[in-house]
C-alpha cells in the first residue's frame, strides 16, 4: 500500500514536470499552429545556461535562474518566433515541423561540442531531506516539485482565463480574424504565447534537471513525454496538459513497477494512440470544427 502511494506521488511529481513542458507546447499550438519538435531541447538549453552561470561564472542559483530566464525569453521566445516561425507559418505544418526538427538537432549538438557531452549534477532548489507522512517516506523535492509545477500550471490557466491579456490570447487562438475586428493586436498576443513558453521552459529546466541530470540529449525523453501529455490531455486545451502530464507520469511508474519495465514507455504510447484515433481532441479538448 505504501509502495503504491509512493509510486503515485513520485509519478505525480515527474508528471507535473511533463505537464509544464506540455503546457508550453499547447500554448504555441493554440497561438500559432506551431508543432514544436524542439520542445525537449528548449528545456535542455536553459538547464545548460544555468550550469554555465553556476559552474563557470560561479553565481548563486537564484541569479543564474534569473539570467537564464531573460536569455530564454530573448532566444527561445522572441528570436524563435521572429526568425523561424514567422517566415514559415504560412507554408503549412510540414516546413515548420522540419525546421523545429533542425533546431532540435542543432541545439543538441551545439551543446555537446560547445559545452560538453558529459552528465552534470544540478543543485535542487529544495532541501535534500526525507519527511515522514503517515508512514510514507517522501523527499521534500518530490512534494515541492509536484506542488510548484501544479501551481504554475494552474497559474497559467488562471492567467489565460481570468486576465484581460489571457483572454485576448485565447480569442486570437480561436479566431484570429474575429479577434482583430475586436481590436486585439493578434501578433502581440502570439508573441506573449512564445514568451510564456520560453519562461515555462526555463522553469521546467530548474525543476527537472536535479532529477534527470543535465546532458545534451536530456530533451529527447522529456520532449517525447511532454508531447504525449499534451495530446492525451487535449492540445487545444491548457488544462489538458496538466491532466495528461500527471497521467503519463503516474502510468509510467505503475507499469514500470508492476508490469514490465521494457514496456514502460509503451503504455503512455498506447494511451496516446487510442486518444489520437478515438478522441483526437484529447481527454479535455474540444473537437475542432471541420471546415467545408
Amino acid at each position: 500500500m505504501t509502495d503504491l502511494l509512493q509510486l503515485l506521488l513520485s509519478g505525480v511529481s515527474t508528471g507535473a514536470c511533463y505537464a509544464l513542458a506540455a503546457l508550453g507546447f499547447t500554448l504555441l499550438w493554440q497561438a500559432s499552429g506551431t508543432i514544436n519538435f524542439a520542445l525537449g531541447e528548449m528545456v535542455m538549453l536553459p538547464a545548460f545556461m544555468m550550469l554555465f552561470f553556476l559552474n563557470v561564472a560561479s553565481l548563486p542559483l537564484a541569479v543564474a535562474f534569473l539570467l537564464t530566464l531573460v536569455a530564454s525569453l530573448l532566444v527561445l521566445g522572441g528570436m524563435f518566433k521572429l526568425l523561424v516561425v514567422d517566415p514559415l507559418i504560412r507554408h503549412g505544418v510540414i516546413p515548420l515541423v522540419i525546421a523545429t526538427l533542425g533546431l532540435s538537432i542543432g541545439f543538441k549538438n551545439l551543446t555537446r561540442v560547445a559545452y560538453s557531452a558529459q552528465v552534470f549534477t544540478f543543485p535542487s532548489i529544495f532541501p535534500d531531506r526525507l519527511i515522514d507522512i503517515f508512514g510514507l517516506r517522501v523527499t521534500v523535492a518530490e512534494i515541492g516539485t509536484a506542488v510548484l509545477a501544479c501551481g504554475v500550471a494552474l497559474g497559467v490557466q488562471f492567467f489565460l482565463n481570468r486576465t484581460l491579456t489571457g483572454r485576448a490570447m485565447q480569442a486570437v487562438a480561436q479566431n484570429r480574424d474575429a479577434a482583430r475586428v475586436l481590436g486585439i493586436n493578434a501578433n502581440r498576443m502570439v508573441m506573449y504565447a512564445f514568451l510564456v513558453n520560453a519562461a515555462l521552459a526555463a522553469l521546467t529546466a530548474l525543476l527537472v534537471t536535479p532529477v534527470y541530470l543535465a546532458k545534451f540529449d536530456m530533451g529527447d525523453t522529456l520532449g517525447t513525454k511532454a508531447f504525449y501529455a499534451a495530446i492525451i490531455g487535449g492540445f487545444n486545451n491548457s488544462r489538458g496538459a496538466l491532466l495528461g502530464g500527471v497521467l503519463v507520469g503516474v502510468l509510467e511508474n505503475l507499469v514500470g513497477a508492476y508490469i514490465s519495465p521494457s514496456y514502460k514507455e509503451g503504455v503512455a504510447l498506447l494511451l496516446f494512440l487510442l486518444v489520437i484515433v478515438f478522441m483526437p481532441q484529447g481527454l479535455l479538448g474540444k473537437p475542432e470544427e471541420r471546415r467545408v
Partner: protein, 311 residues
C-alpha cells in the same frame, strides 16, 4: 522550362543514370557504401513523396516501414529464402501494414495524422527492441548475407550497389507510370481538394489508403536492400528521428516533385559526410542549416527553379 531545356531532359537523364551506374568503379568501398545508402533512401523517399507530396497526407512513420522491410528481409534470409521472394514479401507486408496505418488517416487529418503516424513509429520501435525472440532486441540481427540471384553473388560492394541502383531505377519508372496514370491525377485531386474530389466520384477513402500502402511498400523494398547493405540491423536505425530525416529528404528536395527525393537524399545522406571537415561541429551545423534552408525556401530546393522562371 525552356524549349531547349525540355529537349535536353531525356539525354541528360539517361547520361545521369549511366554515370551513376558506373560511378562505383572510381570510388573506394566507403564511397560505394554511401552511394548505395543514398539509393536505398531514394527508394524510401519516393514512397514517402507519394504519400506526402502527391497525395497530401502527413507521415512521420516511414522509418517504421523501412524497419519492417529490413527485419522481414533479415528473418527470411536467415531462414534461407531466395532474395527473389524476400523483396516482394517485404513490399507486401509493408503494403498491408500501410493499409492499416491508412485507417487512422481516414479519421484524423493534418497535425493529428502527424501524431498518429509518429506514435505508430514509436510502437514499432518498441516491438523491434522488446520482442527479442523475433528481432534480437537491442542487439539486433547480425551477419545478414548479401543476396545471390540466379547463381550470381552480389557480395562485392560495387555489385550490390549496381543491383540496388537497378532496382531504384525500375521503381522510379514504375512510380512515374503510376503518377501519369489516372491514379496520379486522383492522388493530386485528393491533395488539392478532398471535398471536390468526392463530389466528382473520386473516393478519398480508397486513394488515401493506397497512398499510404504504396508509400509503405516502397519503404519495404528499401528495407529489404538496407538489411543486406549494412549486414546488421538494430532498432536504433528505425526511430522517429529517421522518419523525420526521410521527411526532411522529401521536403528539402521539394515535395510533389519527381526528383525531389533523389536530391533530398543527397542532402540527408551526403551532406553530413561533406560536413566532416567541421569535425565535431558537423551535426550542429547540419541542424541549423536545415532551419536556414527551410526559412529560405520552404518549397524545397527544386522550387528554386520556379523562382528563376517567374521572377
Amino acid at each position: 522550362m525552356t524549349g531547349l531545356g525540355k529537349s535536353l531532359r531525356w539525354p541528360v537523364l539517361i547520361l545521369a543514370i549511366i554515370a551513376l551506374a558506373v560511378l562505383p568503379t572510381s570510388l573506394k568501398s566507403y564511397g560505394v557504401y554511401i552511394l548505395t545508402l543514398w539509393a536505398v533512401y531514394v527508394i524510401a523517399g519516393m514512397g514517402l513523396n507519394l504519400t506526402v507530396g502527391y497525395a497530401g497526407q502527413i507521415s512521420l512513420g516511414q522509418a517504421a516501414f523501412l524497419g519492417i522491410g529490413a527485419y522481414t528481409a533479415g528473418l527470411m534470409a536467415k531462414l534461407g529464402f531466395s532474395y527473389l521472394l524476400i523483396v516482394p514479401a517485404s513490399a507486401s507486408i509493408c503494403f498491408l501494414v500501410g493499409l492499416g496505418l491508412g485507417f487512422p488517416a481516414l479519421r484524423v487529418q493534418h497535425h493529428y495524422l502527424a501524431f498518429a503516424t509518429l506514435g505508430f513509429n514509436m510502437l514499432c520501435f518498441l516491438v523491434f527492441r522488446n520482442e527479442e525472440w523475433l528481432t534480437g532486441g537491442t542487439f539486433g540481427m547480425n551477419d545478414i548475407a548479401r543476396p545471390v540471384l540466379f547463381g550470381w553473388h552480389f557480395s562485392r560492394a560495387a555489385d550490390f550497389y549496381q543491383l540496388t541502383f537497378g532496382i531504384t531505377v525500375v521503381l522510379a519508372v514504375l512510380m512515374a507510370l503510376l503518377l501519369r496514370s489516372p491514379w496520379g491525377r486522383a492522388f493530386a485531386a485528393l491533395r488539392d481538394n478532398p471535398i471536390r474530389a468526392e463530389s466528382v466520384g473520386i473516393s478519398t477513402t480508397f486513394y488515401t489508403l493506397m497512398a499510404f500502402a504504396i508509400g509503405a511498400a516502397y519503404a519495404g523494398v528499401a528495407g529489404a536492400l538496407f538489411a543486406p547493405l549494412v549486414g546488421f540491423i538494430e532498432p536504433a536505425s528505425f526511430t522517429v528521428t529517421n522518419s523525420l530525416a526521410m521527411l526532411l529528404m522529401v521536403i528539402v528536395g521539394g515535395q510533389g516533385r519527381f526528383f525531389g527525393p533523389a536530391l533530398g537524399a543527397v542532402i540527408v545522406v551526403l551532406l553530413p559526410e561533406w560536413l566532416r571537415f567541421a569535425a565535431d561541429w558537423y551535426l550542429a551545423v547540419f541542424g541549423f542549416m536545415i532551419v536556414v534552408m527551410m526559412v529560405w525556401m520552404p518549397g524545397g530546393l527544386l522550387s528554386l527553379a520556379d523562382r528563376w522562371k517567374r521572377p
